[in-house]
């Protein structure tokens, strides 16, 4: 038997989440059984439990878009994954459970040098950061980009991947105490959000054109980013921490020719071929092996403390991710 977090109805995660025991999963010929070792709590997980995510799961459901584990059984037709391999799980299984059956072709094998807790957090944020820097504006070394929410896990991944690519970053944060920390992380400019942003940015970049903005906040913060972009620049939205819609002055569309896009990494993942996924993961693994793209963990919980963990994860001010860790 295994333990799994389950909800029977959408609602407040702390209220609707329950622990259930389930039978050990059955392994089809093309599947493997993965013993889950780590699974983070992402905002999207909480939204899904609340019923606010665009794709609703059939209920009862187990949450968890991310996770990593160890292969403990392989189906008779499985060739390219063997037991004891470390793997990243796909996002449609529900990772908040001790074990699951997965099609072998859906797994990404992780190099053994990478800690499984860190591996469990490579699929959403670093992958989002990688695609944000590759799929919207053709950038070359020396170009500048700007992002808000620079202290988020995705924001920190953007800083490090940009540095890897020779792209310079203007990082916008709300708290003064983050400035030094993000500079050390590799941020070329770290600025406090506010009315003076546009001037501060100009001073930091020497007026260099910024053709890509990355927005995870929305509302006024997004508007301030727009005003820092060069004509024909692109603002890509991947989050909405302020819960405010984008307000786009018509002149920025008509006269400044700004372009507005969004990214949903799970959709990218679904549409990509396994070869494309692995190509991106290889670059990310290469950085992770060198100690980069390390995600801070504020606290790890055992799965049976799921209610406490989701309350903790929902708190605004944290200093790292909340994650489930499972014993061997």
């Amino acid at each position: 038997m295994i333990n799994a977090a389950v909800y029977d109805a959408h609602g407040n995660p702390a209220e609707v989440l329950q622990m259930r025991t389930q039978p050990w999963p059955i392994c089809a010929p093309d599947e493997v059984i993965v013993a889950v070792r780590a699974a983070p709590i992402n905002p999207a997980d909480l939204n899904q439990i609340e019923g606010k995510y665009p794709i609703r799961s059939s209920l009862p459901a187990t949450p968890g878009f991310e996770g990593a584990g160890v292969v403990v059984e392989t189906g008779s037709e499985v060739r390219h994954v063997s037991t004891s391999a470390h793997v990243i799980l796909p996002h449609n299984l529900g990772t908040w459970r001790e074990a699951c059956a997965v099609k072998a072709t859906e797994l990404v094998v992780v190099p053994s040098e990478i800690d499984l807790v860190q591996a469990a957090m490579l699929k959403i944020n670093p992958l989002t950061a990688w695609r944000l820097l590759h799929d919207y504006v053709k950038l070359k070394a020396g170009d500048w980009i700007i992002q808000n929410a620079a202290n988020s896990a995705a924001g920190r991944a953007v800083i490090q991947i940009a540095q890897e690519l020779g792209i310079k970053t203007v990082n916008v944060v709300r708290r003064e105490e983050l400035v030094e920390e993000l500079r050390v992380q590799g941020g070329d400019a770290v600025l406090i959000d506010g009315e003076a942003l546009r001037d501060d940015v100009k001073e930091s970049t020497g007026g260099a054109p910024i053709r890509l903005g990355l927005n995870a906040v929305g509302g006024d913060s997004a508007l301030r980013l727009m005003n820092c972009l060069a004509p024909s620049g692109t603002l890509v939205t991947y989050g909405a921490m302020s819960l405010q819609p984008l307000k786009v002055p018509n002149g920025l569309l008509i006269f400044k020719d700004l372009r507005f896009r969004g990214i949903w990494i799970n959709k990218w993942y679904n549409n990509a071929s396994q070869a494309e996924r692995i190509e991106t993961f290889n670059r990310i693994f290469d950085m992770a092996k060198r100690g980069l793209l390390h995600t801070k963990v504020e606290k790890a919980y055992p799965l049976n403390e799921a209610k406490t963990a989701v309350v903790h994860a929902a708190r605004g001010k944290r200093d790292g991710k909340i994650i489930f860790e499972f014993g061997d």
Copy 2:
């Protein structure tokens, strides 16, 4: 001597516009002199006089982004344009004057079958409509698009050009009495804007995906268009009649992958080669020769009634353009 409308300071057009006499223009070797025959009053002209246009002219200035006339003198080096040719003027001269000197290479020669009053209104609206239908989403015959402000000059041009290309149009208007009129013009579906729009559109199109939306209103009307677009669809803004910014719910960017762009036809015109301009104009002239792309004129004024004319043009409810006509 010639008469010209001039303003010395930005402000209310009815107050700041004055009539001045100016010397007959001097023709440089690469220039021609055009006797202006017709020049419409566009919203952008009023904005420019008010100082609300993104490019300010050096003052004193003569307004007028559009106009057509007859070549009456040619410079010694001019080869491919001859006197008595009908021409469309470029947008950076100020057309609200009886005559002007223009570089011959900046002129577009109009087939003589096309009335000069109509020719004077082909550069902004039909050209905008043409580019809207060609530069943002790859459309093929049978595809649907949706637009608001369908009764505007640009909106009517969109209907006719789309029909020419075999593209089907959903046309959104505010007044019931326009429905029949725009159907006759070629609109495949003509619907009243409002909360039921999304359902009405589905019924009209049989649920066909709409990948391009054209927005000249902004605010809530633009939001209703967004909700009618298919996933990964594009909304292009070319006007802002409501004076309200676009409000873009984050989910439409992140989960629905909608894309937002804008067009400024004067910028397109500046960036295009003369060959590209003429290629588009030839298609537009071809339609105009068949009586299509006819712009309704509510009233023609002589230039010395410019103050009255701009007041008339600023009225919300009109049944056609206000235009200046000049005697032979």
